[in-house]
C-alpha cells in the first residue's frame, strides 16, 4: 500500500536560514513524488515533482527537493527562507507502476519562518 509520512507537524526557521521539510514514502512500484504548498484560504499550489532522472529537482519560489531511493525520502529544501514561505506544505506520492493515478498525501508540515 502507498503511504507518505511527514514526521514534523511544524518546522520553525529564522529568515535567511536554510530550511528542510521532511517526507518519506512507501510505494510498491516507481514513486512519482510531489510537493504542494497551501496558503490560508487558498488551494494546494504545485511546487515541484520527481518522476525520473536527476535526484535533485528544482521548483517554484527557489524550492528544491532531493530524491533518495535508498532512504525512500523526498525532503523539501530551500537555501534561504523568507517570511513569505510560511505556509502548510504537503508531500504526495503516486505509485507510477500500479496503474493508479491518485495521490496519497502526507499530513502536512506547517512551516513558520521567523523574522
Amino acid at each position: 500500500a502507498q503511504s507518505v509520512a511527514q514526521p514534523e507537524d511544524q518546522v520553525n526557521v529564522a529568515e535567511g536560514n536554510p530550511l528542510t521539510v521532511k517526507c518519506t514514502y512507501s510505494v510498491s512500484g516507481n514513486p512519482y513524488l510531489f510537493w504542494y504548498v497551501q496558503y490560508p484560504n487558498r488551494g494546494l499550489q504545485f511546487l515541484l515533482k520527481y518522476i525520473t532522472g536527476d535526484n535533485l529537482v528544482k521548483g517554484s519560489y527557489g524550492f528544491e527537493a532531493e530524491f533518495n531511493k535508498s532512504q525512500t525520502s523526498f525532503h523539501l529544501k530551500k537555501p534561504s527562507a523568507l517570511v513569505s514561505d510560511s505556509a502548510l506544505y504537503f508531500c504526495a506520492v503516486r505509485d507510477g507502476g500500479s496503474g493508479t493515478y491518485k495521490y496519497i498525501f502526507g499530513t502536512g508540515t506547517r512551516l513558520k519562518v521567523l523574522a
Partner: protein, 114 residues
C-alpha cells in the same frame, strides 16, 4: 496563469440534504479529480474522471457520491444525503493527462453539515 476554480467557497447544509459542489477545471485539461480534507486530517482521494467516466474511486466514494461533467467546462460532485461526517474541505483538481503530469488544485469548498 490558468487556475481551477470552485464554488461555493463555503456551503452549510443540514444533514440529509443534497449538495452539489462545482468546479471549473483548467480549460485544456482532460482528467479531473475530487479530494477531501477533514479538519486536521490528511487530504484524501475520492475519485478521478476522464472521458465522461469514473476512472478510479476510493472506498470513501460510496453510492451517496456522484460526479458529472454537465457541460464543457464544469465538473460537479454531488452528495445525495449528507451526513455529519461529510463535513470537510473538498478540493477539485485537474491535469492535462495522467501519467507524470502534476494535478492542479482549486481553492476548495468548505462543506459544513449541521
Amino acid at each position: 496563469e490558468p487556475e481551477v476554480t470552485q464554488t461555493p467557497s463555503h456551503q452549510v447544509t443540514q444533514m440529509g440534504q443534497e449538495v452539489i459542489l462545482r468546479c471549473v477545471p483548467i480549460s485544456n485539461h482532460l482528467y479531473f479529480y475530487w479530494y477531501r480534507q477533514i479538519l486536521g486530517q490528511k487530504v484524501e482521494f475520492l475519485v478521478s474522471f476522464y472521458n465522461n467516466e469514473i476512472s478510479e474511486k476510493s472506498e470513501i466514494f460510496d453510492d451517496q457520491f456522484s460526479v458529472e461533467r454537465p457541460d464543457g467546462s464544469n465538473f460537479t460532485l454531488k452528495i445525495r444525503s449528507t451526513k455529519l461526517e461529510d463535513s470537510a474541505m473538498y478540493f477539485c483538481a485537474s491535469s492535462v493527462v495522467q501519467g507524470a503530469y502534476e494535478q492542479y488544485f482549486g481553492p476548495g469548498t468548505r462543506l459544513t453539515v449541521t
